[in-house]
Symmetry: C2
Subunit: 253 residues, 2 copies
Amino acid sequence: MTLSKQHIQFVRSLQLKKFRQKYNNFVVEGDKMVREILQQQHIRMASLYALPEWLDANALLLTYCNVPMHPISPAELHKISGLSTPNQVLAVADIPEPPTITSLALEGFSLYLDQIQDPGNLGTLLRIADWFGLRYVFCSPGCVDVYNPKVVQASMGAILRVPCLERNLPELTAAFPTLPICGAVLDGDNLFRTTLPQHGLIVIGNESRGIAEDTAALLTNRLTIPAPQHAGAESLNAAVAAGIIIAVLIDRA
Amino acid sequence: MTLSKQHIQFVRSLQLKKFRQKYNNFVVEGDKMVREILQQQHIRMASLYALPEWLDANALLLTYCNVPMHPISPAELHKISGLSTPNQVLAVADIPEPPTITSLALEGFSLYLDQIQDPGNLGTLLRIADWFGLRYVFCSPGCVDVYNPKVVQASMGAILRVPCLERNLPELTAAFPTLPICGAVLDGDNLFRTTLPQHGLIVIGNESRGIAEDTAALLTNRLTIPAPQHAGAESLNAAVAAGIIIAVLIDRA
């Protein structure tokens, strides 16, 4: 029941992207998300660290999976956890192979995230993609890493279900030249009053700078969420804007 | 150019609700929000702490306001700031008188926040209220304090514009018995396919528990944001759900 110093260092190192990429592993914490990962097909768990009472309570579920289990003490959990209040269990999982892009050109909606910086925002965007059953979430090179532990936690499990890939928008538009590209801008067409595409990409810009100029040049549908009171806020939160646009696009499609 | 220890302690104490209530003051940080507060009519600034270069750059604006100014060093700013990276200036402002409720029964939409706990979520909800020009934001007794510095910063200035009050929902429904009360629930009517009220209250539930049972009993319009893929996320982020419902309500009103 004692974790070696190297072992603790390994798990803690996964808080950093450099080591997640080196080992191809990421960390998932807490009872709910770890039980969900155990039931997933496409994400392999590499090892499990849990309080003995959690292992007992989940014995049946654990008999069906072949994963090295480490019973640990609350003090050890605290050492390997990235949470200020660790929750019973921590799993190290393999970063899955990026999905292949098959249906993008033809059906459904996908998100393209242009340099989203805040882990909480990215996690919330993954929840939106999950709720609305979006095909893919594409992250531009400057986005925060989707396997950042804060993103994983904020996604509340969505990261386990939503296919995420790193891509540049010009690559995507070159590969799928007829793909409609929607984006929220301040001077576009009223989202509720304009003709909307039946499928395509929804571009969400950086939290403070919005959609970058070279990205904006690629938009085929410039959409604005109507604000009755223009004296008010200059912008909506990126995830809120995404939620409104996606809900309306899907309702109309 | 030296702040006394008591002075530093006073400003720092405003990070806590207890002292904000005792002194009736709250803290606003950063160039953009402080300049905005200087131009506001209804929020009085009690004192201003800024780097000398900020005071120089804003000399013209400052000539029109009669507020005690304290030129401070970067080290002093760091001592009184609640931000990990302080931004040039910090203002102590008076908490404004709660607005009187006049138009609630008759027109427009207002938000009722049922025990929202996360300061970032509350700030984002205030931005939504500001963007859509909502009449009031009512916070239930268990909500995080709207003058919490993290809420103030996340609101990106919306706190300076949106009328906020602490209220219980039963009080409001007793005072305005015909007021439509909309809420997002998982088994309600499809938001896009049902008849919506032309004005009223939009109830947003706690981040993890949703709308409390006694609150849910008061809803007149139980709305659901349609999710095409029910295998996915169990819920949307509270602010995202609020944004979608408000955008559609206002479009239809």
